[in-house]
């Protein structure tokens, strides 16, 4: 694959063949070297074939080989110019995302009781295969309400407070979600799984703020050194998988109807302004709302776990949401292109919105909070959006560390080691439902998240606010 250097941190795949736009990858040279051997770059070029794509097919520094879109891929299409929407550009776990909450606790309040706290989290938050909701199964009417209202549904049920909604991307609910566009099978799968973490790379984590890089933003977000925070990473569970699956099948037929040529079937798509496109948007928004309801519910379960595990009062805990971002989604957003405002369909497949200054609390003078989790052994980052992200990346930045080792390779590499004991020696208490999950998600299986975050800072797209170190983790 031919690559041209634009800047030290930006590389371009020139437009060739049936590519409609060039590809652009944000990566420093060392990160790029890690990429060369796999299919991620080819996937950036494949995405550039989508009808109506605007500007560039973009990839963030955590890019790695996915299916259809690369993970870390961003693509904006213009519906008014025949632009398409592709379920593969969102992924199966629709609105997979991360939320970060602060507490009033300091490291010394939690450290001595960390084992008890992690065990309490593991008890309160269902995770792993076959886990069902810790909350009552959602009946049909409940599901209709949940699909429409997202995180608002959870708050109405007493899970968290209404102020939380001000600190969730899109207020935790996208209008236009339509249950009539969702299959019965998706409804069945969804009703069982509200308030469950799932498996794979999903987690709930207790962290300590280790370093502040941007004091002004940290103050605005209520972050200070030594403070205990809570991070939750999960998505729309089987509800989202089923919707993606249903619509991939439909889009596979739509590409023939609309004579769309794509280099990979997983990129199947339809014009945003078509029956199939509108149907998918309405169903995908339903799954996005489900994911927000799920994360809001899990934060409530985590609060219960904190109160029980530490035997403290809600006032002393002071759990307060910093922000909740999605990193697998497509949304209709206004962006400036060539001096004109255009309404675009922005796909973020393993990429985080990084707006400035919209999407933040009224009165805030800094950009949108961005949460970038690392692997469970190292650290995660809180960052903030900049005006440049709107100029260059349709208001998008990285979403995580990005894998460098396959799951099977990781399982082989870490075979025979007691990973929980190793992490415990480093001050990280871990409880996981499946033994393999720990090996699959171990440090070394991922890029160094610091390199990813630093690349975006170098490019001026997002700025670091704080580094967070895990001290307790639960996983599926």
């Amino acid at each position: 694959m031919k690559l041209e250097r634009v800047k030290d941190w930006l590389w371009e795949i020139p437009k060739t063949g049936k590519m409609r736009v060039p590809g652009r990858i944000y990566a420093t040279k060392p990160l790029l070297e890690q990429l060369r051997s796999e299919g991620g770059l080819e996937q950036v070029a494949n995405v550039a074939h989508l009808p109506g794509i605007v500007g560039y097919s973009l990839a963030m520094p955590d890019i790695h080989w996915g299916y259809g879109f690369p993970i870390g891929g961003v693509a904006a299409t213009d519906p008014a110019a025949g632009g398409v929407i592709s379920p593969g550009g969102v992924g199966y776990d629709i609105n997979c995302g991360v939320r970060l909450a602060t507490t009033q606790l300091q490291l010394e309040d939690v450290q001595p009781k960390i084992q008890k706290l992690v065990a309490s989290m593991f008890r309160h938050i269902p995770c792993g295969v076959g886990s069902h909701g810790a909350v009552k199964r959602a009946g049909h009417q409940e599901m209709l309400d949940l699909i429409k209202n997202g995180a608002r549904w959870a708050v109405k049920r007493g899970y968290g407070k209404s102020d939380d909604l001000n600190f969730i991307e899109d207020g935790g609910s996208l209008p236009g979600a339509d249950p009539d566009r969702v299959s019965q099978r998706a409804m069945d799968r969804g009703s069982e799984q509200v308030g469950t973490l799932g498996s794979g790379n999903h987690f709930a984590e207790i962290e300590v703020v280790e370093e502040i890089y941007h004091p002004e933003a940290a103050r605005e977000f209520g972050i200070r050194e030594g403070q205990i925070t809570l991070m939750i990473h999960t998505g729309s569970r089987g509800f989202g998988y089923q919707i993606c699956d249903d619509y991939l099948k439909l889009m596979g037929r739509a590409i023939r109807r609309y004579n769309i040529e794509i280099p990979d079937r997983q990129l199947a798509c339809a014009p945003v302004e078509s029956e199939e496109g509108r149907g998918y948007l309405a169903a995908m928004f339903a799954a996005a709302n489900y994911a927000w309801a799920n994360r809001q519910t899990i934060m409530h379960l985590a609060e219960k776990a904190f109160l029980e595990g530490l035997s403290c009062h809600p006032r002393d805990l002071g759990l307060s949401l910093v922000y909740d971002v999605c990193h697998n989604i497509a949304k209709l957003e206004n962006h400036q292109v060539g001096g004109k405002t255009r309404r675009l369909c922005v796909h973020r497949k393993g990429a985080t919105r990084a707006f400035w200054p919209q999407g933040t609390r009224p009165g805030r003078s800094v950009g949108q909070p961005i949460i970038i989790p690392g692997d469970m052994g190292s650290c995660s980052y809180l960052a903030v959006g900049t005006p440049k992200s709107l100029e260059e990346t349709f208001g998008s930045t990285a979403h995580g560390a990005g894998r460098v080792m396959s799951r099977t390779q990781a399982v082989k590499t870490f075979a025979g080691r007691d990973l929980a004991a190793e992490l415990s020696e480093e001050g990280i208490t871990v409880m996981a439902q499946g033994r393999r999950t720990l090996a699959e998600e171990m440090r070394g299986a991922y890029k160094n998240v610091a390199d990813v975050v630093d690349t975006m800072e170098l490019a001026g797209i997002s700025l670091k606010v704080a580094r967070l170190r895990p001290i307790g983790v639960i996983k599926g």
Partner: protein, 180 residues
């Protein structure tokens, strides 16, 4: 669906099998078999084996499934999604798979040409159908160990191919990327 006798189980036959391919983000599965049915059965066994330790699953209960697809690739994805739905949706985990594939009325297996197909006229008679029996039991966390949580079988570069080496037996092959 009518009852049918399972074909000879392809498991253990070196002419049929599956193996894991390395894929950074997800899991790749390479599958081969001398028949299309065998290919579908092996693929399901591969997905099941990545999901749980299937040697500890007892073949106690049978579930019958019927799926359809516009072409063989869609049929394969639909079949595997059906397995995953039973698994993650209801906790039923299969370890034995028997498949019968019914081609569209005017086609023979291996003669599909989706490019020429007219979607607007797609009717019941124009789709591939699969009737399958999955044998296994309900998930018991006390006895069964879960491995990797597979979300879906993807269409990424998906193509079922058949090879017919000179003088040799026909062999069907497919490479699948599973989302984890």
């Amino acid at each position: 669906m009518t009852d049918f006798e399972p074909e000879n189980d392809a498991t253990g036959d070196p002419a049929a099998g599956w193996e894991v391919m390395d894929h950074t983000a997800d899991i790749g599965l390479r599958v081969w078999a001398p028949t299309l049915e065998g290919l579908f059965e092996q693929a399901a066994e591969g997905v099941a084996s990545l999901s749980v330790d299937i040697t500890r699953i007892d073949p106690l209960v049978q579930r019958r499934v019927e799926v359809e697809g516009w072409d063989l690739e869609e049929l394969l994805v639909s079949w595997l999604q059906e397995f995953l739905y039973l698994w993650s949706g209801s906790g039923f985990i299969g370890r034995r798979f028997q498949v019968r594939i019914l081609p569209p009325s005017k086609q023979e297996p291996g003669e599909q040409d989706p490019e020429k197909a007219d979607v607007e006229k797609a009717g019941v008679e124009n789709v591939w159908r699969l009737e399958g029996v999955i044998t296994g039991e309900m998930w018991d966390p006390g006895r069964h160990e879960a491995y990797t949580d597979i979300k879906a079988a993807t269409y990424h570069n998906l193509k079922i191919r058949s090879e017919n080496p000179a003088g040799g037996k026909i062999i069907y092959r497919v490479a699948l990327i599973l989302d984890t």
